[in-house]
Subunit: 146 residues, 2 copies
DNA sequence: ATAATATTTAGAATGATTCCAATGTAATAA
DNA sequence: TTATTACATTGGAATCATTCTAAATATTAT
């Protein structure tokens, strides 16, 4: 019934290995550009496309999670155990938060198949809270690193 | 201590009024383009920039919530009461889900000021589940309307 | 070695969003 | 009323992340 699964190979090239190593245990939630900037030290001729290609492969293999909490750019997270994310709307730092319990939605429509979920928290980290006064403005997160 | 707040006016122009009316009670979570496409019926000469400008203003006033669950494009939601979102990764439909209870993160770091939170659920809606067989692939959501 | 398959690369293309400079318009001051 | 100011609108250019493409390489199977 199902096709025999085209099973395409995944070759662990030097570039990919370096990306994997950089990501392994990394809790900084780097963006594609972060990864590229770091990797080009070792592979000066590396293409941005390679980073994206590799990230796509890793996502497909489930080795990686794409975190979309930061507006505009995707961030990547080695997919260990399920957890949530906390974004500082000032400096953009992302902190992992433990998952209290598997999240189940109330009022899931009949027949809807649930695949995954995640909780995003927004706030101001201690460092940023100290720097600025004590203002509000929850609206935008325009500032971005660089 | 605080500056007297520059207080800038918000003028309810015909365009803005139309946008507001379109959004009012709208649970379809339209994108900027959806709004533009709809509004140009009434205002053929309307600029895309006006839509974005208005959305920004409304966001700043808290009249609107920006939903980022759909990769690539922002979706907008008149900010009624807090609720969660459920995205069909096939057709892109977004369903509102009631908030069971105010969400509090476990393990919030000391000194971190929490501003807001939201839960995103991903799944396959009944209609899409019926169409296709019963495959898995949770990875990507490439298909987009249009 | 040869063919088949997968990967890398540079750069072009895409698409959403933002920016900008010129113009229009409403509200207010003189 | 007229001038002044502040806010809006518009079209198009600019930006930025991401995807795509075509050509060059590398790897694996035959």
């Amino acid at each position: 019934m199902k096709k025999p699964a085209p099973k395409k190979a995944f070759r662990l090239t030097p570039q990919r290995e370096a990306i994997l190593r950089f990501l392994e245990g990394n809790t900084s939630h780097p963006s594609a550009e972060d990864i590229y900037a770091r990797l080009r030290r070792k592979f000066p001729g590396m293409s941005f496309a390679t980073v994206y290609n590799t990230l796509q492969s890793l996502l497909g293999r489930g080795d990686l999670i794409e975190v979309r909490i930061d507006r505009g750019r995707a961030r990547f997270d080695p997919g260990l155990k399920p957890h949530h994310h906390l974004l500082c709307v000032r400096c953009g730092a992302i902190t992992d938060l433990p998952e209290r319990a598997p999240v189940r939605p109330a009022g899931l429509p009949r027949g809807y198949r649930l695949l995954s979920s995640n909780i995003e928290f927004y706030g101001i980290c201690p460092a940023c809270g100290k720097k600025e006064g004590r203002r509000e403005e929850l609206s935008c997160a325009k500032k971005r690193k660089k």
